[in-house]
């Protein structure tokens, strides 16, 4: 699957900056940003990204709700979740709701693009 543009959603401005830098400079993708679930839903319409990378813990509407809403309107849009917490049953839940995969925080910015590529590869194979 060809990814050109990624929408990055995180309420933490530092993460937005850093992840954007990683995805642009290491991953060589185009990156647009959103700071909340609500913004994300609008941004998908405006920016037409090929992939959404979405933080799970956000104030307002959280990552999971955002995921559900996004998938409802855009069933074919791949969404990857980012989280600091992980429980095996939570991962299963995210996958059931349609997420492509989960990336753990803290991430290695030099390896983040590779992780994303791997997840997308697994996803399109299955």
């Amino acid at each position: 699957m060809e990814i050109k543009k990624i929408l990055l959603v995180d309420d933490d401005p530092n993460i937005r900056k850093l992840a954007k830098m990683s995805l642009e400079r290491v991953g060589h993708w185009q990156v647009t940003l959103a700071a909340s679930g609500v913004e994300a839903i609008d941004a998908v319409v405006c920016d037409q990204p090929d992939l959404v990378v979405l933080d799970v813990m956000m104030p307002g509407i959280d990552g999971v709700t955002t995921l559900t809403k996004l998938k409802a309107r855009n069933p074919n849009l791949p969404v990857i979740l980012m989280t600091a917490k992980v429980q095996t049953e939570e991962i299963a839940e995210y996958l059931n709701l349609g997420a492509v995969g989960v990336i753990m925080k803290p991430f290695d910015p030099m390896l983040l693009p590779k992780e994303i590529t791997e997840l997308l590869k697994d996803y399109s194979q299955n």
Partner: protein, 641 residues
Amino acid sequence: MQHISGDVNFQQRFLSLGADVGTALTCCESLEEMLNRCARALVKHLDLEFARIWVFNEPDKFLVLRASAGLHESLDGEHARIRLGETIVGIIAEKRLPQLTNQLVDDQVFDRNRADEQGPTSFIGHPLLVQDQLVGVIGLFARRTLDEETLHGLEPIAAGIAIGVHRNKIEMQLRERESLFNHFAENMRGVMWITSPGGLKHLYISPAYEHVFGRTVKELLENPLTFLDAVLPEDRPILLRMMGADDPHSKPATDVEYRIRRPDGEVRWLWTRAFPALDENGEVYQICGVTHDITEKKEVEKRVSEFYSMVSHELRTPLTSIRAALGLIEGGMTGVLSDDTSELISIARNESDRLIRLINDILDMRKMEAGKLQLVLLPLEPKSVIVRTLSSLRSFAQENGVELVSVIDDEREFLGDDDRVVQVLTNLISNAIKFSPSGNDVIISVEPAENGRVRFSVIDRGPGIPPQQAHKLFGLFQQLDSSDSRARGGTGLGLAISKAIVERLGGAIGFRSEFGAGSTFWFELNPVAAQPLIENQPLRDLLSEYARLLPLWLKSLAFLLDSARSTGSDFDLNQCLNNVRRIRGSAEPCGFEEVTECMVAIEQALMALLADEGAADDSWRSIDQALTQATNSPLAGGNNT
């Protein structure tokens, strides 16, 4: 002086005396009253000046005057307490032999306090014995001659009084115990209870029940179902299982947590510990136990859990930014760095990595302590686990000038969680790398252990473990040489976590070390039945292999079944099925019928569960029974006969 001789009169007196003493022994409430009546009877029928009864106090070896009838009735005075061996009474007690004297001069056994009185001249003392145990002494004081016949006639009387005193002592002890028990039962917050086997009929329940359950004891004793009614429906099965309700002769498991709903609607968490009472045949005839309300404790646990969850998030968030920023700089994404800058950034990035590992370790440790560590149990191949581990460690080894060598001598599948076993191996190997001098090898081997398990070993030629540090090694935050290994990036929790993981998987972990010559860290896990044992092996060898492996296979199977029971997933059930079939595959051709039958039963129950046929409870019950039977079979080292 009168002289009473062995005539009809004599016999009559002793008959009457016997009758009076008998009455006194059987119908008196208190020891005092009983002994006084005996003493009075003695005085009356034997024409005595006075009679006394001392009771022996075992702990301090004193005879205590408890009854005095006749001319002297006071219990005070110097003769109120006589030490064993002192005065004629003490000597009688010590030697356990009766004495008769008609020349009484000993002042210490009566008050010669009236100047014009002559006092008694004759004395008989008789020990009170119950089966060789000294219980007291009776003393008869007369102003007439006492003869041998009287002394002999006294024997049965003394025996009777001795039994009376002894019985009274035992009754007092019983009453004390009962009152102590009641004191506990009534004041403990926990409910103490006794039920029939199976746990459905309460034989005793302490008053705390009313406080904990909000219902009356009377109601429970009248209607045993009020107990189970209060328990939340989803918690009833495990409770019943623990109580052995489906098999009253099973020795119940030890404890269980469950919820009840009180009449006011409030839901409380309870913890019950049950222990069976066995009769002389080893059969359960009663179940005793204690139940505590642990609602507060559960709430605290929940708050602690939530706290850790929050802390983990709060700590990880800034660390994510720090790590990412440093990573980008180090990776050259912001431009070329001078050597100095590069070095400093590297240090910072390394340390933030270490912080991240530390947080992960702390949370792992926390999950283990809270019993929340989730393991995905699978049969694993030693080779693939080692390959996976080594692939991620090669660069670290290279950096330290250490070569990793693997030796695979056991290819049997073992029970484990892929990620977690890799975590343990990684921990041991990275420790070995850190402590190995450059240019050395670290050997990772897997081989069958003598006890039949699959043993992984990590061998290094590092400095070894100083003997005095050995016992602390698997403790928390233990690092041998803090200056050294902190610089090498350790968190101090690795071994503790590895130990917890290995033990959760039913295995064992340890080390051997020679200070100055290196160390071997090992851990063993249980094999899973893989393929049938080789048919060509002589039967004798086969049996001894079997004896070693079958218990471990059954243990692994039990773990898999527990996992399948809690997840209910088809994947887990299928795993169990495969395993069961393999065990059967080994047992059947060898003619091990009992084990084969058990496996067939488990297989059928698992298939029923997979097909959703019949009641799941029934299927699990048959599985439990069959597994227990297999585990107890002689082949598995149990003692079914």
